[in-house]
């Protein structure tokens, strides 16, 4: 075993020396054999000829000896490296072919991977919570003027959480915007305040999502009792931005809307719930003694018990719903539930998060599939033309004794060089494309596409697109080679006559052209339809003219504006102030933006 290893290592690292020895050895053999024939009375040239004849092809013996040394793979790699260098040189001499092929490959791989990465990140990959496939979103539908969706009231959340048998845990949340104090941390220091996206959440939300904090703790039920000391949980980004990643931040106090809150924990950056920008979590403030059953300001997420299904959960909630008014009397009466045909709706959390964007993304994925096919067709055509252009050269090489395998290797090497360059370009384009899409979408190009921040360029997608295109190139360079294998001499005559190509080649090319035109047509039509639907979506008549309308949001600190009267006085003063600005025609106030 050891001698085998030593032998092979020598054969690899002292390759030149070993080759020289083989040469010497074989030369010695031939000399001796020649001598033998001379001794029998043959002339010198005849003796040498007979010796060579008896030996057979020297190169074959050498090649077989290399195989015998067990380093065949190494010498093949070295041979292949040389073949690749030749291929690169040939490609440089045909820049129009090379550039077109590389660009086609790059665009095909890049576009496909980018779109697939987005689809995968948004639609296919599980939400970043443990056991996320068992997370469901709880809501209601009711029929007033049409079917509309409402979420949860404090009462319905408390009721479902208490009565259900299908959920391991139910959490409630309510996104809101707050002012959060900065580094100095003084309650009065509003000049340092940041606006931040926050959420009021029930303590049960954290176990429902099965998330744990980076530092400190999550909310516990005691934090969410009426009259409990105000506490807050920070997001990692806010912690870094406003507190310089201070490890001792837990236990410190930070003003939220002017009220000092004690920081009890920091959540890791990957926890972005309910929105990708949420950076603060406050107790829900739900008071079981003072609920408002018809105010659906909360949303609920629940974790199904093992074995419970979405349908079973929905059925159970609908059984429970009619009993809600007895448990939590309020404006949502039994009569109101019947009259509006109110129903509970349970759906996987991912569907709720992704929402309408899902359909558009699937369509985009379908369209990009056609792009990839078109790229393959295009490449096939390029390589076919290239292979035909080369058929003369190949025929000549074959006639001079080049092996079929060597010719094939050369054609493959060209494909590989093109594939490597195109693949690199594709990876770059995919990364740039995803990034550009994230930025564009973030600036409102497509509205907020959910989960977009989670999207990463997907290695499998690049692999798939690259594999498909490269396979196409390889196959296409392979086919003309098969023909030359069948009848090399014929190829030579055909090629040297520089005649037009045979009928069968024309057929292949026609088929390619036809399929490419077909694909392009499908793409064009698809793109047209998509653009139109998109435009129509964007231009839905809102019932008002949105041109020239500016909006702004404001959150008033409860410490400075304790009563509703204070808030109203501020609002009226602000409205007067806005209306007085030159160029402002009218100013108005709303608790919620239309279509917002």
């Amino acid at each position: 075993m050891f001698s085998d290893l030593r032998y092979r290592l020598r054969a690899v690292f002292r390759r030149g020396r070993v080759e020289q020895e083989l040469d010497d050895e074989l030369r010695f053999h031939l000399e001796r054999e020649t001598q033998e024939y001379l001794r029998r009375g043959f002339s010198q040239p005849e003796a040498a000829r007979r010796a060579r004849l008896a030996f057979g092809r020297i190169d074959d013996a050498k090649e077989a000896s290399r195989d015998g040394r067990g380093t065949g793979a190494v010498s093949q790699v070295l041979n292949f490296a040389r073949t690749l260098r030749h291929a690169a040189r040939r490609l440089r001499r045909a820049p129009s072919f090379s550039i077109t092929a590389v660009l086609t490959l790059g665009l095909g791989i890049g576009a496909t991977s980018a779109v697939f990465s987005i689809v995968d990140g948004v639609l296919l990959r599980p939400l970043p919570y443990p056991g996320s496939e068992r997370l469901v979103d709880l809501g209601h539908t009711l029929q007033l003027t049409g079917v509309m969706r409402v979420e949860q009231s404090d009462a319905s959340f408390l009721f479902y959480r208490r009565e259900n048998t299908v959920f391991a845990e139910v959490g409630a949340y309510q996104p809101r915007a707050v002012n959060v104090g900065g580094r100095s941390g003084g309650a009065q220091d509003q000049a340092e305040a940041d606006r931040a996206t926050a959420a009021r959440v029930s303590a049960s939300l954290f176990p429902a999502l099965a998330v744990s904090p980076l530092r400190g703790r999550v909310l516990v039920p005691e934090d969410d009792r009426p009259g409990a000391a105000p506490v807050v949980i920070l997001g990692e980004r806010l912690w870094k931005r406003n507190f310089g990643s201070d490890p001792g931040v837990v236990g410190r106090s930070v003003p939220v809307d002017g009220v000092p809150h004690q920081i009890v924990g920091v959540m890791p950056e990957r926890f972005r719930f309910p929105e990708s920008g949420t950076e603060l979590w406050l107790p829900s403030g739900i008071d079981p003694a003072r609920t408002e059953s018809a105010s659906f300001g909360f949303q609920a997420v629940a974790r199904l018990k093992d074995g419970a299904t979405v349908a079973a959960a929905e059925a159970e909630l609908n059984r429970l719903l009619p009993r809600l008014p007895e448990a939590f009397p309020g404006r949502l009466t039994a009569g109101a539930i019947t009259a509006t045909r109110m129903r509970a709706v349970v759906r996987p959390l991912r569907d709720a998060v992704v929402g309408e964007a899902g359909r558009v993304l699937w369509i985009a994925l379908g369209a990009i599939g056609f792009v990839l096919l078109a790229a393959c067709g295009n490449l096939a055509n390029l390589f076919l033309v290239r292979a035909e252009g080369r058929s003369r050269e190949v025929a000549l090489r074959r006639a001079l004794g080049a092996g079929w395998a060597a010719s094939l290797g050369e054609a493959m090497a060209e494909s590989l060089v093109v594939a490597a360059l195109g693949g690199a370009l594709g990876v770059g384009l995919a990364a740039a494309g995803v990034r550009a899409f994230q930025v564009w979408s973030g600036t409102g190009g497509w509205g907020e596409l959910p989960r977009l921040a989670e999207v990463r360029v997907d290695g499998a997608a690049i692999g798939f697109a690259a594999g498909l295109t490269v396979l196409t190139a390889l196959l296409v360079s392979f086919l003309p080679m098969l023909r030359t294998r069948r009848s090399p001499p014929n190829t030579l005559t055909v090629a040297t006559r520089s005649s037009t190509a045979g009928r069968d080649r024309h057929l292949v090319r026609y088929a390619l052209v036809v399929s490419q035109v077909g694909l392009a047509l499908v793409l064009l039509a698809g793109a047209g339809v998509m653009a139109r639907s998109f435009a129509r979506l964007k231009s839905v008549a809102a019932g008002f003219d949105p041109a020239g309308v500016l909006t702004l949001r404001v959150a008033l600190p409860a410490a400075s504006y304790p009563t509703a009267g204070d808030v109203t006085r501020f609002d009226l003063r602000a409205l007067d102030g806005f209306a007085a600005i030159a160029g402002v025609r009218a100013a108005a106030l709303a608790s919620k933006l239309p279509l917002g």
Partner: protein
């Protein structure tokens, strides 16, 4: 040279090489010449296939090579049997005898 030559059965070349170098170190041409002479030229060893076989045997550690000077005063690569090669030769010889006997038995009884 006129009488018919036998082709080597698969796998017997290694055995013949081991045998040829078992008495004394030999270079490649010497090995092929020895096989030719001992078999009274009835075995045809394709000379081209001798060297791959030598390299294979050397890799397995059954023979080892060293450079020496030949009888005509030229530098030549000599091969000699290693102890493990000697064991291999004994084992293969025994195996070959059993195989030949068994095949002969079958052919005679039919």
């Amino acid at each position: 040279m006129d009488h018919q030559r036998l082709d080597l059965p698969q796998g017997t070349l290694d055995l013949l090489i081991l045998k040829a170098v078992s008495l004394e170190a030999q270079h490649g041409w010497g090995i092929s010449d020895r096989i030719r002479q001992i078999s009274r030229a009835s075995l045809s060893v394709p000379q081209g296939s001798l060297y791959p076989a030598l390299h294979r045997l050397e890799r397995r550690g059954w023979i080892k090579a060293r450079w020496g000077t030949s009888d005509n005063n030229r530098k030549a690569k000599y091969y000699e049997l290693t102890p493990s090669g000697r064991r291999q030769l004994a084992a293969e010889t025994e195996q070959w005898g059993r195989l030949a006997a068994a095949v002969g038995l079958i052919l005679r009884t039919s």
